[in-house]
């Protein structure tokens, strides 16, 4: 061990290479607390999104059921903005953590070049878990950021990789917290809590080396300060604010959509955004013409086929409901159509546990299930019209599901069949 220590490689492995007077356990702790808050929200809403897909119902699982963790509870059918809020938080808070993750990595980068590489088996194991933590957080953010911009540069299935990456992330974050809590507590006490945030540049000094439980962050040969510790946190905060300025408008929707400078979901022409156009659905236009299209209802008391005119002759209901996409954008419109529970009643499916919705579109989640609660929820519609006109082809003509609280991808367009199952 001694011989290895003596043969310290040059460059970043040398003591004295890293000179920022700001690095130290207090700064890392302060950045880490903000980062932790953001990551807890992002991870929790991410797992909530997984539950919102209701993977236990027929057709809904993207992650094969035998590979999935157990589902603790079903997704509620109210309030209407439930998924818009959880997924809006997931995407936007996730984006806002990026600058804090970069600041955190900057604050601890000397540790990447620590020498010897492992002082003990415990140190080796700990570095392994930190490699998983850093790797999984970068992986989660990179795949999430790429997916929200529909940039499919990866060979793997995004949902599966992002989900399992999250399991690795949560496990390695939990162990990191357990191990680092004493370090954080000691650094916080040594610097009297938030006191360093009030320092002016002229009073900014390196942290006392003895405040570290293990050496390596506080520089051996510090340079004069050029920024305060408060400045570092504000710099990262300015990064979060700039990123949010790029996207927040698409999550809120309405007139604010135009303020989302960098987000992919802008108004497309005169119409509100869609995830998938009619052209991309590859549905034969004849299949959705009024002459050919029939809605097939199946239930305990039999099967019925309805034309669009039959549906329009039923009691129509108006609901203002959001489409909330997994990619973090939301758009709220005025829909009208037939209540799902009225359709269920036509085939004796009032007490159905679920409705299996089959689209004319052959795609991932082209066939999905909605829960019995959503069937009985009075705002759940098979929508025929939007904003006072027939649904445009891109928005699901002849009929689409429009129900509160659920992910946009379950608001199936170009519906061909509804199966109410007891």
């Amino acid at each position: 061990m001694r011989a290895l220590t003596d043969r310290r490689p040059p460059g970043p492995f040398r003591e004295g290479f890293w000179r920022s007077p700001l690095r130290g356990p207090w700064l890392t702790t302060a950045i880490g607390i903000v980062l932790l808050a953001g990551m807890v929200v992002t991870a929790a809403t991410g797992f909530l999104s997984h539950l919102a897909y209701e993977p236990d119902l027929r057709g809904n699982a993207i992650i094969p059921a035998d590979l999935d963790l157990p589902t603790p509870f079903g997704w509620p059918s109210s309030p209407a903005y439930l998924y818009a809020i959880t997924q809006g938080l997931h995407v936007n808070v996730g984006l806002a953590t990026i600058p804090f993750l970069l600041a955190k990595l900057w604050s601890v980068i000397p540790r990447l070049f620590t020498w010897p590489p492992a002082r003990s088996p415990a140190h080796a194991v700990e570095r392994g878990s930190i490699a998983l933590l850093v790797g999984s957080s970068l992986f989660e953010l990179a795949t999430g950021v790429a997916n929200m911009q529909l940039w499919y540069v990866f060979d793997f299935n995004f949902v599966v990789a992002h989900y399992y990456g999250a399991v690795v992330f949560v496990a390695s974050l939990a162990v990191h917290l357990v191990v680092k809590l004493p370090t954080m507590r000691r650094a916080w006490r040594a610097q009297r809590g938030l006191a360093p945030l009030r320092e002016r540049l002229a009073d900014t000094r390196p942290e006392p080396p003895e405040a570290q439980l293990e050496p390596g962050l506080v520089p051996a040969a510090p340079a004069p300060p050029t920024m305060t510790r408060r400045g570092v946190l504000l710099f990262a905060g300015a990064g979060s604010a700039t990123l949010l300025a790029g996207t927040l408008g698409q999550t809120v929707g309405g007139p604010l959509r135009a303020t989302a400078l960098l987000a992919p979901r802008r108004e497309t022409g005169t119409d509100f955004p869609v995830n998938k156009t009619f052209r991309a659905s590859r549905i034969d236009p004849r299949a959705v013409s009024d002459a050919v299209w029939r809605l097939e209802l199946r239930g305990p008391s039999g099967t019925r086929r309805l034309t669009r005119a039959d549906l329009l002759a039923m009691q129509q209901h108006d609901e203002t409901l959001p489409i909330a996409c997994v990619e973090g954008w939301t758009t709220t419109q005025d829909w009208s159509g037939v209540r799902l529970r009225d359709l269920a009643a036509l085939v004796g499916g009032e007490d159905a546990d679920a409705v299996y919705v089959v689209s004319l579109q052959d795609a991932i989640l082209g066939e999905t299930s909605l829960s019995g609660d959503t069937v009985r929820e009075q705002r759940s519609l098979l929508a025929l019209r939007v904003n006072g006109r027939d649904l445009p082809p891109d928005h699901g003509y002849p009929a689409r599901i429009m129900a509160p609280a659920i992910p946009g991808v379950h608001q199936t367009k170009w519906v061909g069949r509804l199966e109410f199952r007891a």
Partner: protein, 159 residues
Amino acid sequence: MRALLRRGYGASPVHLVAHALALALAGWAILKVVDVRAASNIAAWFVGALVLHDLLVLPAYSLLDRAAVRLRVAGVAAVNHVRVPAGLTLLTLLVFWPQITGANDGDLRYVSGVEDDGVLARWLLLVAGLWLVSAVALAVRVARREDLGGGSPADQHGA
């Protein structure tokens, strides 16, 4: 037993148990979905990013930062007026790379019907705005002769 563990392993039993549990869960998750094609793809990205960062990006931003630290306008340290807008420029470029470069245009246009709506132009405006705000703030400080930078220019070093 405790002393033996500390001598042989180098940390407390809590450390060992916590790592055993966490690594087991992470290992399970990785093994559940490991797929040779995807694994090699992930490894290629990971190693590529590591090499790119350590050999290219890290020396580049260290050198640029050292240069910026020496920058003074009328005796006022200008370093943070360069650092902050430069950092925000790079951050937005990194995060919105597919949008700004149009790398996602094909999927966005075909799948979602979004026409190219000038993200590049809006990003350039945003960045110009950031640099402008920073320059105005510097001008105000020069006018007030307010120097927040410590030390003489000669002994300023970044990294």
